[in-house]
């Protein structure tokens, strides 16, 4: 009984292939049931997102099963095997476990540490659980994948820092201000990225929102969106006096705010700190504004640099995460091999039982006129001896020691169990 993973993702397959292989909509339910009914496959789960399609299975013969699954994919999606086979990756046993743990911990994601994948994986397994296509092995594997992902999240800083420009702006604001809820925010001009950053600020608690746009009507529309108010573009300097956070993206070809303006504004604000982000190209806020006390001006390159360093940081953290995953994989393998030891223990017991019975029979033949009491005492003696003899190997097998496989082989040899395959 082993685990296998068969799949493809954004790194191995182009979107054309991914969309052909995807199990979306009704295909998910239909696909998983059919997969479960394939011969040789004991348990199955299916993950299908825009970045990856992966099939997790527990089967006796993983190599054989993977071929069966490949044929199934080819038939089911009416696509030739050659078309997708190159993009496929296949793992079994410990590699399969490691892969699932890495996916859950977001180490295999396009943006390392992004949190959605864990939710998608959970959904995929919940779905499989509902359709009753999983069993002991995959259920346990999923639980461990989730707990591993959580360990990675708490013990490393893999998901700590912003990796998009709009989030980076929010993160910086939080390093300047204690709470964003009491702060006043102005969107100067509008642009897709500026709007996105504004939305993040609002979800992070900013309530007082002003929109100053060249076309006042567009400003009004946007302001409605954020539960804020529109101000005339000409008035934005006046408004700055009571504004703590500014995101600027006007599309103007010249600077709209210069140091001398800001100097006066700061005096009027009594030097209360201001965070200015200028994500317009060409820039709209004069760079030397940053020299003023309590003014923090970031342009789009500064923010991009934040994102880049954070990405680098995540890669460093990913190395720590791999170690955690190694540990968890090892633990899981121990658990699976302890499952393997159960049938072995049973066969030792059976063997002991047969030996005892045989020898007692022989004994009875030799001494046919022994009285019942003595016979019973001898039977007890035989039981006690066999039990004592198989006690310590049983304990050893139950203990999940590190070299389980070696132990199993040794035990089989010592007890002459080689003919009996462990079942189940």
């Amino acid at each position: 009984m082993s685990i296998l993973v068969l799949g493809l993702n954004h790194k191995t397959a182009s979107v054309e292939i991914r969309e052909k292989i995807a199990f979306s909509g009704n295909k998910l339910e239909d696909g998983i049931v059919r997969l479960r009914n394939l011969p040789e496959i004991d348990e199955i789960a299916l993950l299908s997102t825009c970045n990856r399609v992966e099939i997790y299975a527990s089967a006796k013969d993983t190599n054989n099963s993977s071929e069966i699954i490949k044929d199934f994919i080819s038939n089911y999606h009416s696509i030739k095997r050659e078309e997708f086979e190159k993009a496929l990756y296949y793992f079994n046993n410990s590699d399969a476990i490691r892969h699932i743990f890495r996916v859950a911990s977001s180490l295999d994601s396009m943006i390392i540490g992004e949190p959605q994948i864990l939710g998608q994986l959970k959904d995929a397994f919940d779905f499989a659980l509902n359709k009753k296509t999983t069993g002991v092995i995959l259920n346990r594997l999923m639980k461990k994948a989730i707990s591993t992902a959580k360990r990675v999240r708490t013990e490393t800083r893999i998901a700590e820092n912003a990796v998009s420009i709009s989030f980076a702006a929010v993160e910086l604001a939080k390093k300047i201000f204690k709470e964003l809820s009491g702060k006043s925010f102005m969107l100067l001009g509008a642009g897709e990225m500026a709007e996105l950053a504004a939305r993040h600020l609002v979800t992070n608690g900013v309530k007082d929102v002003k929109v100053a746009n060249r076309t006042y009507e567009r400003g009004c529309e946007l302001a409605k969106d954020f539960n804020g108010r529109a101000v005339r573009f000409e008035d934005f300097l006046k408004e700055l006096v009571s504004t703590d956070i500014v995101i600027c993206s006007t599309g103007a070809s010249e600077y709209v705010l210069k140091k001398e303006h800001m100097y006066k504004i700061m005096k009027e604000r009594r030097y209360s700190p201001v965070f200015l982000t200028d994500i317009s190209v060409p820039r709209n806020l004069y760079p030397n504004i940053n020299d003023l006390d309590n003014v923090y001006l970031y342009n789009i390159d500064d923010l991009q640099e934040v994102v880049d360093t954070n990405l680098l940081e995540r890669k460093k953290e990913a190395e720590k995460a791999e170690k955690i995953i190694d540990e968890e994989v090892e633990r899981f393998i121990k658990w699976t091999s302890s499952l393997n030891s159960v049938p072995l223990i049973i066969s030792i017991r059976q063997k002991a039982e047969t030996v005892k019975e045989e020898e007692l029979e022989k004994f009875k033949h030799k001494f046919p006129d022994l009285d019942k009491e003595k016979l019973a005492a001898i039977e007890q003696l035989a039981t006690a001896i066999t039990n004592k003899l198989i006690h310590s190997p049983t304990v050893a097998l139950k203990e999940n020691s590190e070299d389980m496989e070696l132990l199993a082989i040794t035990v089989k040899k010592l007890y002459g169990l080689n003919g009996e395959e462990e079942g189940g």
């Binding site: 700590e160 201000f177 204690k178 030097y271 940053n290 006390d293």
Partner: protein
């Protein structure tokens, strides 16, 4: 027993300082807790040491350079714990414990014999005067540590160096707020200390104010902090400026404490 508790406290503060420096200079997460634990252990022993000395001497062990410096360090730890707990910012420890450790280290270099209290100091006014002065100065000591944190964080934000320590330091606004809180705590205490000192001086020496070097330097310190508060309220001098002045203020305190006692001839010299 007395010396053992002192030495152990010193060692624990030293350990906390080292961990603090590691937290500041190396990439590491979760060291703040260790600093707090080490500091707390040191604090327990330190308190024990003060109690033992109190029982042996029969008066508050705050006279003499050894005891005074040790008591000053003790006051800083107390106020540090209150603020670290109140604001849940453990990394403050990395900036405060070095101050505590250095004070304890210098305390250990002064003679440690317990001597009978000179009659002139046998007064409740004296105890109140000293305790107020030390608690007030302890608040200023922490304000200077917070000031250093502010300046660092400000520097990182201005220069856009946003990894490492930047990630571990809290936001500017909270640092400025704590700095302000500490100064508004320390200032009235220092004021009261000067007033009670004057009252006691009148009863001991017959004059409220004698332009003794210590008195002059205390006045200078008082003026510095009065200025911080005044400029903040009237001109909005906050953040960086407040941080810098609070550091200057603490340097002035250190000079009042060590410089005046050791370099200048003062009635206040503790010996």
């Amino acid at each position: 027993m007395e010396i053992v508790t002192f030495k152990l406290a010193l060692i624990l503060y030293f350990a906390a300082t080292i961990v603090g420096l590691i937290e500041i200079f190396k990439e590491s997460k979760g060291l703040s807790r260790l600093i707090l634990i080490l500091a707390a252990c040191g604090f327990v022993l330190h308190t024990l040491n003060i109690i033992i000395r109190y029982l042996a001497a029969g008066y508050l062990p705050i006279t003499g350079m050894h005891q005074a410096t040790s008591f000053f360090a003790w006051c800083i730890i107390v106020i540090f714990f209150i603020f670290a707990y109140r604001y849940k910012i453990g990394i403050i420890g990395a900036f405060i414990l070095p101050i505590v450790f250095l004070l304890m280290l210098s305390s250990s270099t002064f003679p440690r014999e317990i001597i009978p209290l000179p009659p002139v100091l046998q007064s409740y006014w004296f105890d109140i005067h000293i305790v107020l002065a030390f608690i007030g100065n302890a608040a200023f000591a922490i304000a200077s540590g917070i000031g250093v944190m502010y300046l660092l964080q400000e520097h990182y934000l201005k220069r856009k160096r946003l990894s490492g320590l930047f990630q571990r330091l809290p936001n500017l606004q909270i640092l400025d707020e704590i700095n302000y809180r500490l100064i508004t705590l320390g200032f009235p205490l220092l004021t009261l200390a000067i007033i009670t000192g004057a009252l006691w001086a009148e009863s001991a020496w017959g004059a409220y104010w004698r332009w003794d070097p210590k008195e002059v330097w205390s006045l200078i310190t008082w003026i510095i902090y009065a200025l911080v508060l005044h400029l903040r309220i009237t001109k909005g001098w906050r953040g960086k400026k407040a941080a810098i002045i609070s550091i200057i203020g603490f340097l002035s305190i250190l000079f009042t404490f060590f410089g005046v006692n050791l370099l200048l001839n003062s009635l206040h010299s503790f010996n």
